[in-house]
């Protein structure tokens, strides 16, 4: 069977491509807590030189390397890499440094910083859990893709071009997502990520509000309170108007 050259690796006895895909699936499954950078590092070690070109493409996709990602990607890439490396930091040391008892005239500021740190730590934990779930989806997608490629190989239905391959991969990914996004672990991780983001945002806002108040500028909290007061008065006015209408209707003449 004559196959397009660029895709030979996928069909060479269904071994080379399948081998690669299965290796990635194994890695993803083995490192559910890991970030993208860690998965790539382990993949590089396991796959060796032959897998490097593909790993480089994956790294670009995840904005973990600079080439061909444009100015935005170049700006985001290092930040993502730093985020990913954070798990390697000795957290106990950071806890010790940041969470020591706050004293003195800047006690409130220090306590605000501690709350921010705790919220960040929780967000980081939730992010890793969620990435673990995404890794499960990717691993399942890889298995489905390999399964489908093997099926096509057996039926002698070659993948005609890269677009067709992309569609196969996307369909496998969507099917995997549809399956796994229903289970409790996925839903819980998703909910915990949103909740951690909410808590982090509250702490950020508190920090910002403190600064604004010191500068004599209206804080978010003050604006919210003002909006609530306006809203409550609007509602009371509406009820009064309704009551007035009822009175008018009951006596048959406008009430002035």
């Amino acid at each position: 069977m004559l196959l397009p050259r660029p895709l030979d690796w996928l069909f060479d006895g269904a071994e080379a491509g399948a081998g690669y895909a299965e290796a990635v699936a194994r890695l993803a499954a083995a490192a559910p807590e890991a970030g993208a950078g860690q998965i790539l590092q382990r993949a590089a070690r396991e796959l060796g030189r032959s897998g490097r070109p593909i790993l480089r493409l994956w790294a670009q996709l995840w904005s973990l390397e600079e080439p061909s990602v444009g100015p935005a990607g170049r700006a985001v890439g290092p930040a993502l890499r730093a985020l990913d490396q954070l798990s390697f930091w000795p957290q106990a040391l950071l806890d010790q440094a940041i969470l020591r008892p706050a004293l003195g005239p800047l006690r409130e500021v220090a306590e605000g910083g501690q709350q921010l740190w705790l919220a960040w730590r929780e967000l980081e934990r939730a992010r890793r859990n969620w990435l673990g779930q995404q890794a499960r989806v990717q691993a399942r997608a890889q298995s489905l893709l390999v399964e489908r490629l093997r099926g096509r190989h057996q039926r002698e239905e070659p993948v005609a071009d890269l677009r067709a391959l992309s569609v196969l991969w996307l369909d496998a990914s969507e099917a995997a997502h549809a399956q796994l996004s229903r289970d409790d672990g996925f839903l819980l991780a998703q909910g915990q990520l949103v909740n951690a983001l909410s808590a982090w945002r509250v702490e950020l806002r508190e920090a910002g509000d403190g600064l604004l108040m010191r500068l004599g500028l209206p804080s978010r909290r003050e604006l919210d309170a003002a909006h609530e007061r306006i809203h409550r008065q609007g509602r009371e006015l509406r009820q009064l108007r309704r009551r007035l209408d009822q009175l008018e209707n009951s006596i048959g003449t406008p009430v002035t």
Partner: protein
């Protein structure tokens, strides 16, 4: 392709009233209000009503106008940070009630017809339960009633989310977050696959135009007023209070079984956002009125803008004019009528358009 930078409708209309961010439009400007019963359309808060008037030949509103229906549209607008305290009762007892008064006043003060789409259907049902004397008939399209029935992907999405914490953190919930939520349901399809299949430069211009209009509509997501979002997400999606008759709005309990006016309930057979059983639950609750249910072959959006969108227009217009929801070709295909006699027994199920 001009005029596509902002998502706008295609049918001429005039603004007849406004309050805060809300706008009330009448379609077919210039003509005097007709003698028929006017129809007020209430769309969901989570997207823009542009979808009902998306493109020439794919406009639900234009289709109703062409079939002789007098159409008004309530446009909720774009809430901002100042609107975080707007609650369900404000939308119901203030905004919607004011619009019903405005439309009714232009037509001699008579009860009007109300049509709600998706979340707008829920709002319309609640309004009909609280203010039955102000309406003549009610149409609900792709409307969730039982949020735990079927494979409800949106209910799953918010299952473990602390909605109170989210609203407390964000105030007004950004439209981008709403869009991200929808994308998370089918990420590969919505973020990549769709663009692989998009019409190319040499495609049919109408097809290309429709794709671009749809694309604009999808990402034209208004922010959500915090208190309204809190109550809808928590009480409907998480606690499923509407179907249990335990939803409270402004201290008043919403009992859908109190609705006595004629109701047409239409859902899409392949709706992945509001699964059919979620809509069908309405039929079990309305135990004392004239209830007609109709399934249309399509998805949540497809039944409005898909190739067979005229089926929905025929169905709604025929029901409003004659009380029958058949496609208008006399076949009565896919039409299910549940007529409820005075004794409360159901009859006439399956294929018949006769009451």
């Amino acid at each position: 392709m001009s005029g596509l930078r902002r998502a706008e409708g295609v049918t001429p209309r005039e603004e007849i009233w406004r309050q805060d961010r809300l706008r009330l439009y009448r379609y077919g400007p210039g003509s005097a209000p007709g003698h028929g019963v006017p129809l007020l359309i209430v769309y969901a808060l989570v997207n823009r009503p542009t979808m009902l008037d998306l493109a020439p030949g794919r406009s639900f509103i234009a289709g109703l106008l062409a079939r002789g229906i007098e159409v008004y549209l309530l446009d909720w607008g774009y809430p901002d940070a100042a609107d975080r305290h707007l609650a369900f009762e404000d939308y119901l007892d203030d905004y919607l009630d004011s619009c019903v008064s405005q439309v009714s006043a232009r037509h001699g003060g008579q009860p009007i017809d109300l049509l709600g789409v998706c979340q707008g259907g829920v709002i319309s049902l609640c309004y009909a339960a609280l203010h039955p004397g102000r309406l003549r008939r009610l149409v609900t399209l792709v409307t969730p009633v039982d949020f735990a029935a079927g494979d409800n992907s949106l209910a799953r999405l918010v299952r473990d989310v602390d909605v109170d914490a989210l609203v407390d953190a964000l105030g007004t919930v950004p439209g981008e977050l709403m869009s991200a939520g929808y994308l998370a349901l089918q990420p590969h399809q919505q973020l990549v696959r769709k663009y692989l299949a998009m019409p190319g430069r040499d495609a049919d211009p109408e097809e290309r135009d429709l794709f671009l209009r749809m694309e604009q509509w999808i990402y034209d997501s208004p922010a959500q007023a915090g208190e309204m979002f809190r109550q809808f997400a928590r009480d409907c999606f998480q606690r499923n209070l509407l179907v249990r008759g335990e939803l409270e709005i402004g201290g008043q309990r919403i009992d859908l079984s109190r609705i006595r006016l004629p109701v047409l309930n239409v859902y899409g057979r392949r709706d992945h956002l509001v699964p059919p059983p979620s809509s069908q639950a309405l039929g079990r609750l309305l135990d004392g009125g004239d209830y007609t249910e109709r399934a249309i072959d399509g998805g949540h959006i497809g039944i409005f803008v898909g190739r067979r969108s005229e089926e929905l227009q025929d169905c709604v217009a025929n029901w409003l004019k004659t009380g029958a929801a058949d496609p208008g070709d006399g076949s009565g295909a896919a039409c299910r009528r549940t007529a409820i006699s005075a004794a409360g027994t159901r009859g006439g199920e399956g294929g018949s358009s006769a009451a």
